[in-house]
Amino acid sequence: MRPLEESEIQQVFEKLFKFVGKNLKNIVDRADQPHCFRLHKKRVYYVREDIMKRATNISRDQLVSLGVCVGKFTHSDKFRLMIGALELLAAHAKHKMWVKPTSEMSFLYGNHLLKSGLGRITENTPANQGVVIFSMSDVPLGFGVAAKSTQDCRKLDPSAIVAFHQADVGEYLRAEDDMVQGKKE
């Protein structure tokens, strides 16, 4: 477990910035309790500082996880957000999409979000912007990338994709093994 390096932190923040915009500031300097980012076994964790301090007592190979796992660095050293970041993103998201109840399951199985399933969308969402996807009762389901802007969405035909899938809460079941580093092995 170690703090992120300059290049790593830039990558992480860039990804997060796509979803939360200027609210990134609120993530880094939390008003209630200080939090920090830690890298452990190529995974990035968002941890409360007191927990982080306690975690120092545990040896590296013994430490399975701490705090919230927001993503991981791939083999080619690219940062990828994982489903664990959902809570963080949902709390501070700038652009949101709401899924109709009928196509909730489709999304939770890892499919892209279609126009027919789009219940609501934040105004002024540009294309290729990170969006957090909610159910109609405001339960965060996952996140992705907007395929079209809000304006374009209006004229889209129902079978067109409006958001590309990145992560959804179904992964907790589907990719249970991948949740924690080393469990697969």
């Binding site: 939390r30 219940g119 934040t122 105004e123 405001d138 809000t150």
Partner: protein, 951 residues
């Protein structure tokens, strides 16, 4: 002399056309003489004519035998006889053969000119006209008689000894020159004179004078008589004082207008006289004339637009009736046009200079009113464009009353407008005005267009016809087809043309197929016009043009407000927003994005007042909800604005800090009292309304609403609490605000103006606890209601069935009332009061402040003459006496009370003193006793010692 001369020249035609033949009488030298000086003596022209009313017949008869034109005499003869019989005049000729000089120096030459009016005609007409007019005429005649007597007296005394200088000169000339030559010169002179007079008239009446003469020639005798009678009356009026003239003109105008209304097709020509009066120098007369003209036109004008007949139609031979109708139409149109021109000239508003407005004519307010009435009652008639274009500029002026009047009349016109062309015209004009003035117009300018009725069915049809989506290939094919079609049509045309040419060269005459076709089409169009029906396509075109113009205007206002240099005060903003809100369902989807963008800019900028912002939000909400799109768009930006506005302190009565200085801007009848409710309405629409909102956001709103209610005016507080109750009811998860437990992560941040990041779910509604002790019972009840909501499950509807906005309006204290009414203070133990207070509470006040019985009776009684006044004075005196005595009495009582108090005090003090003395006396007695005892003891001791000594 000069003055009168000028006046008469300006106003009157010298002689009616009827007297042309008499002027050519060659023999009579005197006649010739007078004729030769006709031009110079124009000042008495009118008098000659009026003289003619009475004298002409006798004169002519006397002259009859040696007159050349026997046939004319013959024609006139029966009427003359009749008139003589009627008038009962004696046959003695009343000639004034010699020139007369009057006291004021005017020379009256012998009135040898035949009268322009046949006396019989006038007298025949006397029983046609109304009594008022008859009276006026009679009066005028009497006056004339007086003048005549005067001049007769003069005539007797001076006997024509003095002739005018010019007259003498002319006589000399006549002696010198041969008769014929002189006559020749005479005729030329006369011709010149006549021409000149004619010109003068032309100047006065404008262009219609030219054929006025023509029409007079072929007028029926009755009309001619009426005309000349009117002229005679006008001539008479010249002599009167201003007041008399007004009365007389009033009567005349009334009679004429009545006549025209009774028989418009027969008597329309009379309107010209009234129209002339509209340009009178005397403003009052012009005003009366204009107002009555408006009424007449309102009544008389046909329900269709008059179209000038084509040359073909003119060439056609028509029946008598048609001709009459045609004449009527043409004449009416001309008169109407002149009248409108006068009104437009006078009602030009303040923008025009005095010279532009011209001298004569009604004042601008009257002219404006007339124009308004014309627009409202004759929107279909000709010259509507002129009327509108004169009215519309008033909307940009500062004069609020004028702008309101104009807006009202335009609104009425639009309301009554079925075809839509009036509306469209007004729209274009106002839009142009708005454009030119850079949106700096009176707020009333846009209000008329709220009345436009858009036919949604037709417009919807158009909207449904969406452009079909074609692939590139299909597109190309379609375009090619179109091109082909156009090419073919063109080729066909060419071919036909060539063929025609060819045939022509052979001498073949075309049987004008196309012309016939044209005629048929035209006929069809005319029929359609007559039936007042529009086919669908036309209607659709009109409607869409109207819609386009309306929205263009509104968007211009919005864009201007959002632009770099907005109009000062944004006067048109509120009406534009109201209008947009009303026609929101008609806004094309393609505009929506732009519109929302403008709204966003407006809300982000600080050009708008808070009230306008609220209105803006409301409109945006209406626009969004009105569309019912398949795709719901989350309006985060608007929510943020609303949230930020809620955070701003609301200042007292005006609610939401918006103190609106411009009174005119409240155009949908929302008075100052409703401003607080405006905000509530916006809130309700946005949150409780159509779309689903984030829970966190809702929670933040609920919290902020409760906080705003703490410092808001009671009405608004009730509304805010109502809205927050609705929110909590609709989103059950947010009811955790009512609990002590913390839900969700983070801490509520009340300082952030963004409902998303404020972490509303972590807040606690402690404000309710304070609000339950609010001084206003309604607010306290509302807070209690919110606080008692169940934490889970469905919530029963609120006790009152009112919407929050309605509640807010109901409980608003901005109007100065309090609901429920404040109970009067309880009468408790009587406090220590002054004597007077005690007096008044015993009913003394009634004695002091209400007048006595008698006084009241007198006041109630009807107006009093002199003796009653005495009684009144007496009673008043007594009343005041009593009042004074009462005052004195009060003073005396106070004095008595004071004295009594003093005496009590004095008595107490005396008693005290007495007590003190008594005490002293007791002491002294005691001391004395003690002394006595001592002394006694000593004596005893002395005795004892004595005894001892003895012993």
């Amino acid at each position: 002399m000069g003055k009168r001369n000028k006046r008469s020249k300006g106003e009157l035609p010298l002689a009616a056309p009827g007297d042309g033949d008499d002027e050519l009488v060659p023999d009579d030298d005197d006649v010739a003489f007078v004729k030769s000086h006709r031009g110079y003596g124009a000042f008495f022209g009118e008098r000659l004519e009026v003289e003619g009313i009475r004298v002409a017949t006798t004169k002519r008869r006397k002259k009859g035998p040696d007159e050349d034109d026997v046939t004319a005499e013959y024609e006139r003869a029966p009427r003359t006889v009749a008139s003589r019989a009627e008038n009962g005049e004696d046959d003695a000729p009343k000639t004034l053969a010699l020139p007369v000089k009057r006291l004021d120096g005017t020379v009256i030459h012998a009135p040898t000119a035949p009268a322009p009016i046949e006396g019989a005609g006038v007298d025949d007409n006397m029983h046609n006209i109304t009594p008022a007019a008859r009276a006026a005429l009679k009066k005028a005649r009497e006056e004339w008689d007086r003048h005549e007597k005067e001049s007769k007296a003069l005539d007797a005394s001076e006997a024509g000894a003095k002739k005018g200088k010019k007259a003498r000169k002319a006589e000399q000339l006549a002696n010198e020159l041969g008769k014929t030559e002189y006559r020749q010169k005479l005729t030329t002179d006369k011709w010149w004179d006549k021409k000149k007079d004619g010109e003068g008239d032309d100047d006065d009446e404008g262009d219609d004078e030219g054929d006025d003469g023509d029409s007079e020639d072929d007028m029926d005798p009755a009309a001619r008589a009426r005309l000349s009678q009117a002229r005679a009356a006008a001539a008479l009026e010249e002599e009167m004082s201003a007041d008399e003239r007004r009365e007389s003109v009033k009567a005349r105008v009334g009679a004429t207008c009545q006549g025209v209304m009774e028989d418009p097709e027969g008597k329309w020509a009379d309107l010209r006289e009234v129209c002339k009066l509209c340009e009178d120098r005397d403003g009052q007369i012009a005003r009366l004339a204009a107002l009555s003209m408006v009424l007449v036109f309102k009544d008389v004008c046909p329900g269709y637009r008059i179209r000038p007949p084509t040359p073909k139609e003119l060439a056609m031979k028509v029946s008598k009736e048609t001709q009459k109708l045609r004449d009527f139409e043409a004449g009416l149109l001309k008169t109407y046009g002149n009248f409108v021109r006068v009104l437009v000239r006078c009602g030009g508003g303040k923008g025009k200079s005095r010279s532009q407005r011209g001298k004569g004519g009604p004042d601008s307010a009257t002219a404006l009113r007339c124009l308004c009435v014309l627009l409202e009652s004759l929107p279909h008639f000709n010259y509507r464009t002129d009327v509108l274009s004169a009215l519309v500029p008033h909307l940009s002026h500062v004069d609020s009353a004028a702008a309101d009047a104009v807006a009202g009349s335009i609104a009425n016109a639009i309301k009554a407008d079925m075809q839509g062309d009036t509306t469209l015209e007004a729209l274009h004009m106002v839009a142009q005005l708005v454009k030119q003035n850079r949106c700096c117009c009176h707020p009333a300018a846009l209000s008329p267009f709220l009345e436009i009725r858009f036919d949604e069915g037709i417009l919807a049809l158009e909207a449904q016809k969406a452009p079909e989506v074609l692939s590139r290939k299909q597109n190309r094919k379609k375009r090619a087809d179109e091109r082909e079609m156009i090419r073919k049509a063109r080729a066909e045309k060419e071919k036909r043309k060539a063929e025609k040419e060819r045939m022509k060269s052979f001498g073949h005459r075309d049987d004008s197929d196309s012309e016939e076709e044209d005629l048929e089409a035209q006929l069809e169009r005319d029929m359609g016009e007559a039936s007042g029906r529009m086919d669908n396509a036309q209607k659709k075109k009109m409607q869409s043009r109207m819609l386009e113009a309306t929205f263009e205007m509104y968007f211009r206002v919005l864009k201007n407000a959002a632009g770099a240099n907005p109009a000062r005060g944004l006067p048109l903003m509120t009406p534009a927003l109201v209008g947009l809100g009303k026609f929101t369902h008609l806004i094309s989807v393609t505009f929506m994005a732009d519109l929302m963008e403008v709204f966003r800019q407006l809300l982000a900028g600080d050009a708008l007042s808070t009230e306008q912002k609220a209105r803006c939000l409301l409109t945006a909400c209406e626009v969004l909800s009105g569309h019912g799109e398949a795709l719901q768009v989350d309006t985060g930006e608007f929510h943020r604005q609303l949230y930020a506005m809620l955070g701003q302190p609301s200042s007292g009565s005006s609610g939401w800090g918006g103190s609106d200085k411009r009174d005119g801007s409240s155009c949908d009848g929302s008075s100052s009292a409703d401003r607080g409710t405006l905000r509530i309405r916006a809130l309700q629409r946005f949150l409780g309304g159509y779309s689903h909102v984030d829970q966190g956001r809702v929670a933040a709103f609920a919290k902020r609403l409760a906080g705003a209610a703490l410092c808001a005016e009671p009405g608004e507080a009730v509304g805010a609490l109502g809205v927050s109750r609705q929110l909590l009811a609709a989103y059950p998860r947010t009811r955790c605000l009512l609990e002590n437990e913390r839900v969700g992560t983070g801490v509520f941040n009340p300082a952030v103006d963004d409902p998303e990041s404020a972490v509303g779910l972590a807040a606690v509604l402690w404000d309710l606890a304070l609000l339950r002790h609010h001084y206003h019972p309604a607010v306290a009840a509302a807070a209690d209601e919110v606080a008692r909501m169940p934490l889970a499950g469905a919530v029963p509807p609120a006790l009152g069935s009112h919407a929050p906005a309605e509640l807010a309006r109901l409980h608003s204290t901005t109007r100065g009332d309090f609901r429920p009414a404040i109970p009067p203070p309880k009468v408790g133990k009587r406090a220590r009061t002054s004597v007077l207070d005690r007096q008044t509470s015993r009913g003394g006040e009634a004695n002091v402040l209400t007048p006595g019985d008698e006084l009241a009776r007198i006041i109630a009684a009807e107006r009093t003459p002199a003796d009653e006044r005495d009684r009144l004075a007496q009673t008043l005196r007594r009343h005041f006496c009593e009042t004074r005595e009462f005052g004195v009495n009060v003073g005396l009582r106070a004095e008595v009370a004071r004295l009594r108090r003093m005496s009590i005090q004095a008595r107490e003090r005396a008693e005290e003193r007495r007590a003190a003395e008594a005490a002293k006396a007791k002491k002294a007695e005691k001391a004395k006793k003690a002394e006595k005892a001592k002394r006694a003891g000593e004596e005893v001791r002395g005795k004892k010692s004595k005894k001892k000594v003895k012993a």
